[in-house]
């Protein structure tokens, strides 16, 4: 018994770790979408903000980071992706259906060959499908001259639709095959015996029976097309889809705007899954109730009084929601208390970053100049000691030089600089040394 308990605990822990591995990265990514810092991270938490969903920001060093709302290429990519997905769905669902129906009508050897060929595209790497489509259509476009065909062969959207249809049709095909396996062919025969034409059988019996498969294969085809990258990146040519836009963004440098985009997609997925689960459960309940009613009517005795199903039942999942809500409220309060939300916080963070940046710039300049001065002083090593002292003092040169070149820093560091300036002139040694210098000359 004890042994069993240990196994149970171990299994529980394993499952926990597994789901942590599955969801942890996604959760962390989602959280980083709300951090106002330029780098998607959690631990140097700057401010809670929605800027990555809205306008993005212009960084202190002039780099422009677009948010979701202001990102033009992203919007165009989404529209292109939607067009492509629509095209793929309209092509691949009929193809998959036709192939699956024909599969039920061919036999033995031909069937094996046909089936193997149909599922082959799934076993091809996506890049290869993209490449083969492009090279073939480029050739066709070259042979086709200047007309319509050449336009078509060099149109990225058209090529992408063809390339994706190649393997997405197989997904649809497999869905239809699974559904057709449970199809009762006597229905067709009965209809034919009763004088229906073949097209009537197809439209009135087969299509209604396949409706669920048509729906699910359309959804699958749409999603598969929408998130495809491997094939698209080759066949899209000069256009941009959502995935290629994301890829180029990621390659250029990682920005929290991508986290924000991911969060939006995650939320849409969650809502979809939630709706699916609800509809499935209500269907199940309806079916259960029907069965029950049937059973009672069959029993036909009133000895068993039908118990009324309770009209409203609190689902268990509501507790999870409450927990999440409470956690969210608590976190929110903490954020407000620590002044980590709102424009004030962002301004503060921005200001500190700016001064940091300015300090760094100053330091860099200082270093560069001190190198220069040491070089100079080395060059005149034979000079008098006092002479060396003046040139050896980095502050002097930095500040004199600083007035000419450093425009950016003037505003922030003006005050401190003029202090130093005063100090230098107020330094009795300076005038003494200058005097000495003149005298020597």
């Amino acid at each position: 018994m004890k042994h069993n308990l240990a196994i149970q605990a171990f299994l529980g822990l394993y499952i926990l770790i597994f789901f942590l591995y599955l969801f942890g990265p996604l959760v962390i990514m989602s959280v980083t979408a709300f951090n106002s810092a330029e780098f998607p991270a959690i631990t140097p938490w700057e401010c809670f903000s929605f800027r990555w969903f809205n306008e993005g920001k212009i960084a202190y060093d002039g780099q422009r980071l677009a948010g979701l709302v202001t990102d033009r290429p992203l919007h165009e990519g989404i529209i292109t992706s939607l067009i492509i997905a629509g095209g793929v769905v309209t092509l691949s669902v009929p193809i998959g259906m036709a192939a699956a129906i024909v599969l039920t009508q061919v036999h033995s050897r031909l069937r094996t060959i046909f089936y193997s060929m149909s599922i082959m595209p799934v076993l091809f790497p996506g890049v290869i499908i993209g490449i083969s489509t492009v090279v073939l259509w480029d050739r066709i476009a070259t042979l086709g001259g200047d007309g319509f065909i050449s336009e078509l062969g060099r149109n990225g959207i058209f090529l992408t639709i063809l390339g994706q249809t190649c393997f997405i049709s197989t997904y649809c095909f497999l869905i239809f095959v699974a559904r057709l396996q449970r199809f009762d062919t006597t229905q067709e025969e009965a209809a034919l015996d009763l004088g229906a034409s073949q097209s009537q059988v197809f439209l009135k019996i087969l299509i209604p029976y396949l409706m669920p498969a048509i729906g699910s294969s359309a959804v699958i085809a749409f999603l598969a097309s929408f998130e495809n990258y491997n094939t698209t990146v080759f066949s899209i040519l000069s256009e941009q889809t959502l995935t290629t836009v994301i890829a180029s963004k990621v390659r250029l440098g990682i920005s929290p705007a991508i986290s924000a985009l991911a969060l939006v997609i995650i939320c849409l997925t969650l809502i979809g899954a939630f709706l699916y689960e609800i509809s499935r459960r209500s269907n199940q309940r309806k079916k259960d109730r029907e069965n029950k009613v049937k059973m009672f009517s069959e029993i036909s005795e009133n000895r068993l009084v039908e118990e009324q199903p309770r009209f409203f039942r609190i689902p268990k999942s509501i507790f999870v929601f409450l927990l999440v809500l409470i956690l969210a409220v608590l976190t929110w309060q903490q954020l407000i208390k620590n002044n980590m939300y709102g424009s004030e916080c962002i301004e503060k963070a921005e200001a500190s970053k700016k001064s940091n940046f300015a300090d760094q710039l100053k330091l860099l300049q200082q270093n560069a100049e001190s190198v220069e001065t040491t070089n100079e002083s080395e060059g005149s090593a034979e000079g008098s000691k006092e002479y060396n002292d003046i040139f050896g003092d980095p502050n002097l040169f930095k500040d004199f030089g600083g007035f000419d070149t450093e425009k950016k820093e003037e505003s922030e560091n003006g005050a401190t600089r003029s202090n130093e300036y005063n100090d230098i002139f107020g330094d009795p040694n300076l005038f003494k040394n200058f005097g000495g210098f003149d005298n020597k000359e």
């Binding site: 790497p125 490449i131 197809f202």
Partner: protein, 303 residues
């Protein structure tokens, strides 16, 4: 053919035929054959194609094996190295995924109550519908120089300076394992679900240990699922492009990235095709190997 027309009626039979021929011939067979043909041709500008220089040649495959004519090495160590790296990593990722997923699939299929099982399956599907690029991006945030893992390790005092996980390729391997893990779980789950629980109980009653039960009963029953999952994970990992683009370090290449380079940056389409053919041959060999190893048909592999 006549009986086909008779059975479906002329309109629908024509629709079937057009759809299937369009798919099988124009989308599947001809592009692949043309790519194969192109891979044996020299890289010519469009105007010279079909001219006297357009002859069959093995130059691209030779380049893969021996490198360019100007190089001093006996073999093309860079490309072959990338290729072997890709294949070996893909095999390792497949094995890790299999070991990692088997307990979970078994739990969901056999041990969990139906309601829990359904919820778990739903939970598994959700990350699958999030773009591969974005999932890799999530991994990248975790492993970045100032990322979560580095900060935790620094906080705990386990390391003194940030580890560059991306340069060490740890991020890439984690990302690849993460990307296709669900394609291992679902075939396994489907196969294990059909296993009769009575068999497990019988084995237990007859005194078989847990390990022995799994080895003798569960795994043989699930072999189609194992073959299918392994094939899918291997193919997708070896042919992955999105994850390496996001996660690979600047000096590591994935074989698909090499193809991409020949294709888009060096504009050498025929060499890109040749390299694609090499990848395709490896993939097909792997499928055949799995079919032979697990004695399953191709229909059982793809489900």
């Amino acid at each position: 053919m006549n009986s086909f027309y008779k059975k479906n009626g002329p309109v629908i039979a024509t629709f079937f035929l057009v759809a299937i021929i369009f798919w099988l011939v124009f989308l599947i067979v001809i592009p692949q054959l043309y790519m194969l043909d192109l891979s044996f041709r020299p890289n010519l500008p469009p105007l010279l194609r079909g001219g006297p220089d357009d002859v069959y040649t093995l130059t691209h495959y030779q380049h893969f094996l021996y490198g360019s004519e100007t190089s001093k090495d006996a073999y093309n160590y860079v490309d072959i190295g990338v290729f072997l790296d890709t294949i070996i990593t893909a095999v390792l990722v497949t094995i890790i995924n299999l070991c990692f997923c088997y307990p979970i699939a078994f739990y969901i299929a056999k041990l969990a109550t139906p309601n829990t099982a359904r919820l778990l399956v739903l939970a598994l599907v959700i990350p699958f519908w999030i773009n591969e690029l974005l999932r890799s991006f999530a991994i990248r945030i975790l492993f970045a120089g100032e990322g979560v893992i580095n900060n935790i390790l620094l906080e705990l005092g386990l390391i003194s300076t940030a580890v560059n996980f991306i340069a060490l390729d740890i991020a890439l391997y984690t990302g690849l394992t993460y990307a296709y893990i669900l394609l291992m779980i679902f075939p396994l789950y489907n196969a294990l679900e059909t296993l009769d629980t009575n068999q497990l109980e019988a084995a237990k009653d007859l005194g078989s240990s847990t390990v022995r039960t799994h080895w003798r009963i569960v795994i043989p029953h699930a072999k189609a699922g194992i073959a299918s999952g392994c094939t899918m994970v291997f193919m997708l990992t070896a042919g992955a492009l999105a994850t390496p683009v996001v996660l690979s370090s600047p000096n590591t290449y994935w074989f698909t990235q090499l193809i991409y380079q020949w294709f888009n940056m060096n504009d050498n389409w025929s060499r890109g095709s040749a390299y694609s053919i090499i990848l395709l041959v490896v993939s097909v060999t792997f499928v055949l190997l799995m079919m032979r190893l697990f004695k399953v048909t191709i229909g059982e592999v793809v489900r």
